[in-house]
Symmetry: C2
Subunit: 81 residues, 2 copies
């Protein structure tokens, strides 16, 4: 079954409170060599068989724009496998 693996993440420069929280915990755990942490989403969309890659890419892009990502603060990319 073809899949689109989608990655959604905050744009550079947008404050990431969840990432900051993870960073602080890592400092408390003595992982001192981690400089910054950003937390995003990783979404797998399974598509029906026999859909051409171009059609999967077009649908995945539309799904990202309309539902999965907030284009004001988030960027996304996806791979088709």
């Amino acid at each position: 079954m073809p899949k689109a693996k989608v990655y959604v993440y905050l744009k550079e420069g947008i404050l990431d409170p969840q990432g900051k929280a993870v960073h602080r915990i890592l400092k408390n755990m003595n992982f001192d060599q981690v400089g910054d942490v950003r937390v995003g989403k990783f979404i797998t969309l399974d598509f029906e068989n026999n859909l051409p890659d171009a059609e999967i890419g077009s649908q995945a892009d539309e799904i990202c724009r309309k539902l999965l990502a907030n284009p004001v603060i988030e960027d996304y990319h996806f791979d088709i496998e």
Copy 2:
């Protein structure tokens, strides 16, 4: 700055209510060719310069096991860039 890109996702067979919710919304939006949706996390860890890849990999693995993933229900993998 070297980065570890970490992907955390529910193991196969574990019910994913967030993925089911996205799937239902996609059906309502007439994306009928999406068969299943799984939602996970995508975390970027920035490491200090001059750390060898082997050390980054070892720390990233420990961070996944101890903090980012729940090994009972989640799997993870990471790439070093």
